[in-house]
Symmetry: C2
DNA sequence: CACTTAGTATAAGAAATAGTTATAGTATGG
DNA sequence: CCATACTATAACTATTTCTTATACTAAGTG
């Protein structure tokens, strides 16, 4: 009502004034620092509070105190302003045909395998390269809000138009067991195993974790809650400690990079259950760059990571494809 | 002259209009989409170009084309606006006493050792936790511009006031060699080794790389240029391949997590040369949080990483301290 | 090629916004 | 309780942003 739903809640000038008040400790002092009058600052802050529908300062004490939302605002406003100030110089530095900054999201399971190849390849194509590891869900959101230029992950965002996708590798899910534990040969054996040993999960924040839960439900298996981790390292380490077993993948196992035989790997019994890692970018914004990165990644995987996995787990056969 | 040096180069409204033009493909179409008149859009874009001192669109073709700086502007403007729009809802969600978001920079050499403990600990203290691995230089800059709340790295920023620092661990530099290579016992032997085998370096962008170069100069050693990497994994992997030797540290070796005996480690001959990893935060903004994180980190290191290093490299003695 | 169409640029005035001065009210310290 | 230094509100002014009006330009069409 007050404003259109997509209207901007403030402008940068208001944030600048707000931060000045935070630093100066009072509106009057901020006004002096900014060469404004005190009412101008007072109004700007009041307007900012109105637009964000929050109270930023506690006026009942002096010197002025930040409320909890005010503290968050200070944190975010400072970040936003510093980014804004970087933009203009960056534009002027931009050299024809060379990107100033490429931001890549890389799913944790490929961080070790691909961060070096991606960084090496992109450094020939961009001034600055930023590679963030993490969960695909976060990266997918960041791509859509343009906080990332491309990501590699386990979700190809089929439902979103205007993206381009390059499949890098497909791999089956596997079972990870503490050394010496016999491998379950059937889904029933898996269920029996889960009675003796907790299942170490990927957290429900990760796409892999969600997929695994769904698969277990399809198999009709209900397995008691156990520890959950976001990263392959966390899950694998827990299994290595003997604290449980896990459903994971060959690349996740490679990512954890534990000592040989620290955990045992076995095929996942039951119907075929696999995942595909895909490079996703917005169409027509990076030219051929996304395609070229996908080629470099596939090359790096075929040269180095996949042969190692095939040696360590010969039973993978051609379920591991690139 | 045109504007004060610290003046804002633009307003969020201008970026909104700019992005609308990018999407619509023409200023006239953008004006319709925004319920403005065409001259309003034309003026806003002209003003934005004037303030940033760039040309964003190529008007000599239709439909309007983005110039290279225009492309960068699109990328950055979209990111900035999406962040700006997130702020107000975030403020309203803020619960008393609990931080909405804590952003941590973690030096690559501790990424494996500490990302899980930090994430686990902070999830009890904040709604959302963001951990970025990378180079300390980038994190130090990000802390000062408030894009990070705290970082753990190899620079304690002594020259900057208003920060608080917590030392986590000190470790000596060591030599990494391909398996079977005899360890150099003296600086002279190190120089001789460098004649036979290239030195794999940490890049000059990393603080560690800079420190190592300085130390070599102090020793009077000039070593021919070889390959350089930003990350411990890159450097260690090269040595494991037999492509050279490296000067590194125990924690970097642990971070690379190669198989046992994939590389040989030996003391660095010559005078004592060590580094200290420190947690740095802005004073008085996070309360006790920075201190509490440092305690959690030191605990995690003493429990898990340091004992392993002492076992693998018993000659470290008490040069490795926490 | 003239000619239409859909677009961009510029000038001048209207509307909205951000600033000012003036003044009343409030927290804190002597 | 009073002095001081601050914040809030009202009314006015200056500046900026947007509109109308009009001239100019790129690209397609017969």
């Amino acid at each position: 009502m007050t404003t259109k739903p997509d209207a901007l809640p403030f402008d940068l000038r208001a944030l600048e004034i707000f931060l000045s008040v935070c630093e100066a400790g009072s509106m009057a002092a901020a006004a002096r620092a900014l060469s404004l009058t005190q009412p101008a600052v007072s109004q700007a802050i009041a307007d900012l509070e109105l637009r964000t529908q929050t109270t930023l300062f506690d006026r009942s004490v002096r010197p002025l105190a930040l409320t909890p939302p005010g503290g968050v605002m200070r944190q975010r406003a400072a970040a936003l302003l510093s980014e804004a100030r970087q933009i203009a110089p960056l534009l002027r530095e931009t050299v024809r045909g060379r990107l100033a900054l490429v931001r890549v999201g890389l799913v944790d399971s490929l961080a070790r395998a691909l961060s070096v190849p991606i960084a090496t390849y992109l450094s020939t194509r961009a001034e600055q390269v930023s590679i963030l590891s993490g969960l695909t869900a976060a990266h997918a959101g960041a791509l859509l809000t343009r906080n990332l230029d491309l990501f590699i992950g386990v979700d190809d965002l089929v439902e979103i138009a205007g993206l381009e996708r390059f499949e890098l590798v497909s791999e089956p899910y596997i079972v990870l067991l503490p050394p010496g534990t016999p491998a379950p040969e059937t889904p029933a054996a898996l269920a029996a195993l889960a009675k003796r040993l907790p299942l170490v999960r990927y957290s429900a924040r990760s796409k892999t974790g969600i997929e695994i839960e769904r698969h277990l439900r399809r198999l009709g298996l209900t397995i008691a809650a156990g520890p959950a981790f976001d990263t392959p390292f966390g899950v694998t380490e827990m299994v290595a400690c003997g604290a449980g077993f896990a459903i994971s993948t060959p690349l996740c196992l490679a990512e954890a990079a534990l000592a040989d035989h620290a955990v045992a790997a076995a095929p996942l019994p039951g119907p075929v259950f696999a995942r595909t890692l895909t490079l996703v970018a917005r169409r027509q914004e990076l030219g051929m760059l996304a395609h070229d990165v996908s080629v470099a990644c596939r090359h790096a995987l075929r040269q180095s990571t996949l042969p190692k996995l095939r040696t360590a787990m010969p039973w993978l056969g051609d379920s591991l494809t690139s």
